[in-house]
């Protein structure tokens, strides 16, 4: 990285240096000019939610990757996604572990309006949908079996029969998700809709998202999901780990499907900062992304590292759940019904498949789902999707960090998709078999049976 792009910190650096030697001469050591740019801000506070996929932040801290970049980072657990977002916006946090939909939702003004950007995708997959024991007992006899076990993936049409029965008895069917613009909301909606259940529309006047709904969705913070379901307030939920496995351990519910089975290798969390923070601290931003890339590489380097990461995450200050519970999904397997543990090596992906690169097509997928469910109330041209994605996703910052790591010998060229134009190309691997092409968002919206079409309005 050249110094030309960063005149301000260097000037400050020179001022500091001359003050230190107590001289007014410009005699700066020749080496200093060619050194890596200094971070503009060195003491940083990042927020996270108690979920296993906060791992990149935890690892970068515990393995001193942040320190290697000259950063002094404090990590702080946040109560819920709204608090986290608000604190990033008002500057109490420099950046945070965010839902992929959060920077997009904030930028287009659904919920809190603010310019949030991301240069780093934290992981792929990692969520599951869990139903309460009562629902599972009604659902299980309806499911096809295979070799004495329930056949996976479980489709929502089995749940539809249960919901229809409840409806005829006048009982509402309620499920929890973690935030209106969360991956969980869209995944849960995707799964329900693929099975013929309407998850409800958002409208400009009704932002609860329950218009026409067969299943009433509401927001519950991730760590409270199991206890809320246990209390009977919701009958199931979609959440990240360890809160699905927690339900199995507590014996209060059964995970029916993971998001990996809904959309193979879907982008999950991102590292989000405000646009103004990113503009003021370009060098710091690159330094943070460097540390996070190293953390993700470490996480996917070996099973031993994963086991070590589980130990870190189980500390009370991070996720705090039992090692066993966290370890279940982090180490490549997933327990559905109690005792029905199946291998799921890609349940948590941190670096493989270019997981950390901020693809425009990922951003556009979330935007299509926001439109599908009415969070975006009016029709938008394909170009709007592209522009919004470019406003929020900053692959240039990512590549700057990646190149620096390659130059330092900490990563290889092949680790990064240097040639990509930001689109993964047409993707299959969705539970309903519909192919997604990020270049044609309106086309994509036309393919869904349930959901708003490009020209619809609610």
């Amino acid at each position: 990285m050249s110094d030309i792009h960063t005149p301000l910190p260097r000037r400050r650096f020179i001022a500091g240096a001359t003050a230190l030697v107590g001289s007014t001469a410009i005699g700066l050591p020749a080496g200093a000019a060619t050194k890596a740019a200094q971070p503009e801000k060195e003491s940083l506070k990042f927020g996270f939610i108690k979920l296993t996929d906060c791992a990149p932040l935890v690892v970068a801290y515990e393995k001193h990757y942040f320190e290697d970049e000259g950063l002094n980072v404090t990590l702080e657990a946040q109560a819920n996604w709204k608090v986290l977002l608000d604190r990033v916006i008002d500057g109490q946090l420099d950046g945070a572990h965010m839902l992929a939909g959060q920077p997009l939702g904030a930028t287009i003004g659904f919920g809190t309006k603010a310019d949030i950007v991301t240069a780093f995708s934290m992981d792929l997959n990692g969520n599951g949908i869990t139903v309460s024991n009562a629902v599972w007992n009604e659902m299980k006899p309806l499911l096809p079996m295979e070799g004495g076990k329930v056949k996976h993936p479980i489709h929502a049409d089995a749940l539809k029969k249960v919901v229809d029965k409840w409806k005829s008895q006048g009982k509402p069917f309620k499920m929890g998700m973690v935030f209106p613009v969360s991956t969980h909301n869209y995944e849960l909606r995707y799964w329900l809709a693929a099975g013929g259940l309407h998850p409800g529309y958002y409208t400009s006047s009704d932002i609860s998202g329950t218009r026409n709904a067969d299943v009433l969705l509401s927001v519950t913070p991730p760590p409270q999901m199991p206890s809320t379901m246990e209390a009977g307030t919701i009958n199931g939920y979609c959440v990240g780990e360890p809160w699905n496995q927690q339900a199995v351990f507590k014996g209060i519910g059964v995970p029916v499907i993971t998001d990996l089975e809904i959309w193979k290798n879907n982008p999950e969390k991102v590292f989000g900062v405000t646009r103004s923070w990113a503009d003021r601290n370009p060098n710091t931003h690159v330094a943070v992304v460097k540390a996070l890339i190293r953390a993700c590489m470490w996480l996917d380097a070996s099973m031993a590292n994963r086991v070590e990461a589980v130990k870190m995450l189980s500390k009370p200050a991070y996720v705090g759940a039992d090692e066993e519970v966290i370890g279940n999904s982090m180490t490549g397997s997933f327990e559905y019904e109690k005792g029905d543990k199946r291998p799921l090596p890609d349940f948590n992906v941190f670096f493989r498949y270019f997981a950390t690169y901020p693809f425009y097509s990922d951003a556009i997928w979330y935007l299509t789902q926001m439109r599908r469910w009415g969070q975006i109330t009016e029709s938008k041209p394909d170009s709007w999707y592209m522009e919004t994605a470019k406003k929020v996703y900053l692959p240039a910052v990512y590549m700057q960090a990646a190149k620096a790591l390659v130059a330092e010998g900490k990563a290889k060229d092949a680790d990064f998709p240097a040639k990509t134009d930001g689109f993964k190309g047409p993707q299959d691997g969705f539970i309903d078999g519909i192919v997604y092409d990020g270049r044609k968002p309106n086309d994509y919206l036309n393919k869904f049976k349930i959901g708003l079409k490009p020209k619809d309005a609610v």
Partner: protein, 321 residues
């Protein structure tokens, strides 16, 4: 000699009465405590929660040690952090003599002991603020019927308000009003907790002070008036000495209320302190969480008890002067 007399005088003079009073003071509470622990140990394993059986005394004791070990480990981490920082500074200086060494403050997690200290500082700040406001206001209300009539409805309406209702308002106001650049002197979360404590613990002191002032011997007050003593002297020499027991009782109750309020406020607002510790453990939902919460419950109780005793001692000291 006098001490020996005081210590052993009673048993020598009246051994039976002494034994009875000692029995009441030590043996009965001890037995009751043992009974309580026994009951707890017996009942706890039968209560099956989703986090496993409810912890008994043994598990709670074990977690107390774990928390202490955690505290020591975190301190070791801190030392390691500073060592790494020094090493890094040295290395950078060797590379580049003009480098300005960085001296960051350790960025680790607060331990259980840190949380206790935070809570104590917060509750005392809030309590002192409450006292500073409530005592003069109470004296004013006690000495003037007009002021009393004016203040009364406000006090009656705000006194029963739960801290949970104040919290969002305080949070929003502090966030809006307390704008700082750079490193602020106080953390916002600290101010929010302390002010909430103030708002909730204000009233008891205020009311008690007012009652204390009203109940000052009328003759004394009249003497003051006849002698045409200036107001400050009247307050110092006549009103305060008589009203002091009431004021201190009010303050004692206020501190108790403040301590309870603080824990709730910290839980709800996620502000650092014991309340946050309890909430975090609840959220963590690990198999040790309940035991850790019990450790916090006992800690909160013991500290509350200690605070009450402290106020009592203070009261005695002041009154007997």
């Amino acid at each position: 000699m006098e001490l020996v007399q005081r210590m052993f005088g009673a048993p020598l003079r009246d051994p039976r009465a002494w034994a009875r009073s000692m029995g009441m003071a030590i043996v009965v509470p001890l037995l009751a405590l043992l009974l309580f622990v026994g009951l707890w140990a017996g009942v706890a394993p039968r209560i099956e929660t989703s986090l496993g059986a409810f912890p008994g005394p043994a598990q709670v004791l074990e977690q107390t040690q774990v928390l202490w070990q955690g505290h020591l480990a975190e301190r070791a981490n801190r030392d390691a952090f500073y060592q790494r920082q020094d090493a890094r500074n040295k290395e950078k200086l060797a590379e580049d003599p003009s480098y300005q060494p960085r001296h960051f403050v350790y960025n680790g997690k607060p331990t259980f002991l840190d949380q206790i200290v935070t809570s104590l500082i917060t509750v005392f700040t809030g309590f002192l603020l409450a006292t500073v406001v409530a005592v003069p206001l109470g004296i004013l209300a006690g000495s003037s019927r007009i002021v009393q009539a004016a203040i009364n409805p406000i006090v009656q309406i705000f006194r029963p308000v739960s801290p949970l209702a104040w919290l969002p308002i305080v949070t929003l106001i502090v966030s809006a009003v307390y704008v700082t650049t750079g490193t602020p002197m106080f953390q916002k979360s600290f101010l929010i907790s302390a002010i909430t404590v103030t708002l909730c613990s204000l009233w008891t002191t205020l009311i008690n002070t007012a009652i204390g002032v009203t109940s000052v011997d009328k003759d004394l007050v009249n003497v003051g008036k006849v002698l045409q003593l200036p107001l400050s002297t009247r307050v110092r020499k006549i009103i305060l000495p008589s009203a002091l027991p009431y004021i201190f009782t009010g303050m004692r109750l206020s501190l108790g209320v403040g301590w309870m309020v603080l824990i709730a406020a910290e839980m709800l607002a996620q502000n650092p302190g014991l309340g946050k510790f309890v909430w975090d453990e609840f959220q963590n939902g690990s198999s040790d969480s309940l035991s850790r919460i019990m450790v916090a419950v006992f800690t909160i109780g013991l500290i509350g008890f200690a605070l009450d005793r402290l106020m009592q001692l203070l009261q005695n000291a002041v009154e007997h002067k």
